[in-house]
């Protein structure tokens, strides 16, 4: 068991590509840290540097209190679970799990004990004599986990271990990995591009973009107080809705415009974000989480200046909640973060920008499943005006307290 520290860690590949740029990260002993970000954000490279499979260009990687920059992977006492499992195809399940222990010249009885125990925990006892090719995807994944567990290493490193499983199995393994990690209390670094995995599994989550650290925090912190537009848009499902608006001050309160609706900002937002005052009269990017909408029929006591009307393009009732998609005539400033998010969502940034300029900003809201809104008909929605998020148009940084003031 050990803590892992990255200090200004940089990885440069040939041709000056910077995969990871001055990454600072403290992972506490026994912590489950998730690295998340869109593909190409450097999360896997960061993990491979911790494993020692990738050299560190600059900065220091520490495991325990030892700088391991020049320590080969075999001497780092870590175990890794690969995206494609990387099971040794010529060995049985038993030998796959025992391989590391055999290399470490562990005593035979001890090896057998540990392998049997791990097989028990993972439900692999009856498969010990099989070769990996005779196993299903889920079973292979378990063997990969087992291979990591039996080593009793200082840290687990996992590189998108669930991305090859089907949805149902993924949810099941998600909780299983979480449980195992919790029982063993082994420091774990877990890489994923799936923000749901990140939020459900991580004690803390580290969001990365283009090789740079964006924010580290508990899932709640990331969700409630994203430091940047990118984090706000990346974390949460469905993702946050954004639009640009001028922040108007009137009668000591602040208002903003969403399409042709005049919306009053809740008092709580203001007290939580003192820095917002400096943006009076200026344009800001506003974010609303889908969860902060409600059908006006259900939240009928909401004031008039917290309501918007829109035509529902698509209504998806999924039982626990209802997703409604609608278009709002509100442009959004195309910052770098916006473009990155659009790309991650699979939208061409240019298309996204054009759509936004034409005033076709697509919003998603999750509302109460009892709602009676209909597709292709007008509906009134209520916004929780105390839960707005604000971002600087220039820097994409979140507007929070004084410390976030970039002016």
């Amino acid at each position: 068991m050990a803590e892992i520290k990255l200090e200004r860690v940089t990885k440069r590949f040939a041709g000056d590509t910077v995969a990871v740029n001055e990454l600072d990260l403290d992972i506490e002993d026994g912590e489950f840290m998730v690295l998340v970000g869109p593909s190409g954000c450097g999360k896997t490279t960061a993990l491979r540097m911790i494993a020692g499979l990738e050299s560190v260009s600059e900065g220091e990687v520490r495991i325990g209190d030892k700088v391991v920059n020049d320590v080969p992977p075999k001497d780092r006492d870590i175990a890794m679970v690969f995206q494609n499992y990387a099971l040794y195809p010529h060995m049985t399940v038993y030998d796959n799990m025992a391989f590391g222990l055999k290399l470490a010249k562990t005593e035979k009885g001890e090896i057998d004990e540990r392998v049997q125990k791990a097989a028990q925990v993972l439900g692999l006892r009856e498969f010990l004599d099989r070769k990996p090719r005779a196993l299903s995807g889920g079973q292979r994944q378990r063997v990969a986990m087992g291979r990591a567990i039996v080593r009793e290493p200082q840290a687990f490193l996992m590189d998108e271990p669930l991305s090859n499983l089907d949805a149902k199995l993924r949810v099941q393994m998600r909780s299983e990995i979480g449980r195992i990690q919790h029982d063993l209390e082994v420091t774990t670094v877990y890489v994923t591009h799936d923000q749901v995995e990140a939020m459900t599994m991580g004690d803390r989550v580290c969001v990365m973009k283009k090789g740079e650290l964006q924010q580290v925090g508990t899932p709640t912190e990331l969700f409630e107080k994203p430091v940047s537009l990118f984090v706000a848009g990346f974390i949460g499902s469905p993702s946050m809705n954004f639009f640009s608006s001028k922040l108007e001050e009137s009668n000591g309160g602040y208002r903003l415009k969403l399409a042709d609706h005049d919306i009053a900002i809740g008092d709580k937002t203001l007290s939580e974000r003192p820095a917002l005052k400096q943006y009076a009269g200026k344009e800001v990017i506003v974010g609303i989480r889908p969860q902060d909408f409600e059908d006006a029929e259900i939240a009928s006591d909401a004031p008039k200046d917290a309501r918007i009307k829109a035509k529902m393009d698509l209504v998806e009732a999924i039982g626990t909640e209802t997703l409604v998609h609608f278009v709002v005539d509100a442009p959004v400033a195309m910052t770098d973060d916006m473009k990155e998010l659009a790309a991650d969502a699979g939208t061409d940034p240019q298309t996204f920008e054009e759509r936004s300029k034409e005033g076709r900003n697509e919003f998603v809201a999750t509302i109460d499943p009892r709602s009676k809104v209909k597709e292709r008909s007008e509906a009134e929605l209520v916004i929780d005006t105390n839960r707005f998020h604000f971002f600087d148009v220039e820097t994409s940084q979140g507007i929070h307290g004084e410390s976030n003031n970039h002016e």
């Binding site: 040939a14 494993a51 020692g52 499979l53 080969p72 992977p73 075999k74 780092r76 870590i78 175990a79 890794m80 690969f82 995206q83 494609n84 499992y85 990387a86 099971l87 040794y88 195809p89 010529h90 391989f99 590391g100 290399l103 470490a104 070769k131 990996p132 090719r133 005779a134 196993l135 995807g137 292979r140 291979r147 080593r151 490193l157 090859n164």
Partner: protein, 298 residues
């Protein structure tokens, strides 16, 4: 019966081409077989006979052929000539030793060199690979004379090494090139997994990479072995007598100043070819693809 042919015409066309190809390939071998069986009179008959007509069998006497031991059995005359010839028997043994050692050296050096070239990214990787390939195109005749002088000074003439060294030099580039291709196809994650599991580079190589490359190594080894087995040029120049001469060099010696025993030469050629055919047929079953199935996501 329908093996994916659209119409019977397709099938007929396919098999016709296959038969023609098989006939063209096998004809020289079959002709040599015929030559080895018939009498001298038939051998020189004009017009030549197509099917062997005068197969002469002689009883191979006990003890004369160590391969057969004490049993007496009928054997075509030419084969008997070949089997009881001590120089040819020594030649076969020499061939086996030379081809075997060449293969072992090539695989040992070649696999390690190939592993390095396949896995280590360094600036000269591509030039080195090109150079390796270029060397295999080098005309052997061009270096024979200097090699003879060098080996003479080193006292290597008429030893196994006189043949093994040039054989290795010429077989190694292909060995390296083929193995680089094989190693590159192996998922690198497997070696990474081994390293994280606590293996040093040798352990990762010998316990993960090599076992998974068996089909590639067998194929490459077989090609090297066949090359060295059939090699004539170096052996003919750099060996002098039965102490080191391989069978390929011995075969033309079934001749006197005035006559050439073509029948015996044909028989000897067949005897020399047969082990290769058996070897290839045997290993064909070992060269199974899909050995890596199950390593990664499937």
């Amino acid at each position: 019966m329908n093996k994916g042919f659209k119409t019977p015409a397709h099938a007929i066309g396919f098999y016709t081409v296959v038969l023609i190809f098989a006939f063209l390939t096998l004809f020289p071998l079959l002709w040599v077989l015929k030559m080895s069986l018939v009498s001298d009179t038939e051998l020189f008959a004009s017009p030549p006979t197509f099917w062997p007509e005068s197969v002469t069998l002689k009883s191979l006497t006990a003890g004369k052929c160590p391969l057969v031991g004490g049993i007496k059995f009928p054997c075509p005359e030419n084969f008997q000539t070949v089997f009881i010839d001590p120089i040819f028997r020594a030649g076969l043994a020499n061939t086996l030793v030379i081809a075997g050692i060449t293969t072992i050296i090539c695989l040992t050096i070649g696999s390690m060199a190939a592993y390095a070239l396949a896995r280590i990214e360094f600036f000269a990787r591509r030039p080195v690979l090109s150079l390796v390939l270029a060397i295999s195109f080098f005309p052997a005749v061009a270096i024979i004379a200097p090699l003879f002088l060098q080996f003479q000074k080193a006292g290597l003439i008429n030893t196994y090494w006189a043949v093994i060294i040039p054989d290795v030099l010429f077989a190694l580039p292909l060995t390296v090139y083929l193995l680089v291709a094989y190693f590159r196809e192996l998922p690198e994650d497997l070696e990474d997994a081994a390293k994280v599991d606590g293996a040093n580079i040798w352990q990762a190589f010998f316990r993960v990479t090599v076992p998974l490359s068996i089909p590639g190594i067998v194929t490459t080894g077989l090609l090297t072995f066949i090359y060295a087995w059939n090699e004539f040029l170096f052996a003919n120049t750099l060996t002098l007598d039965q102490q080191a001469q391989p069978a390929t060099v011995v075969i033309p010696q079934f001749a006197t100043t005035y006559t050439t025993d073509y029948g015996a030469q044909a028989a000897a050629a067949l005897v020399l070819t047969l082990p290769l055919v058996i070897l290839v047929l045997f290993f064909q079953r070992k060269i199974v693809s899909g050995l890596t199935a199950g390593a990664t996501k499937g």
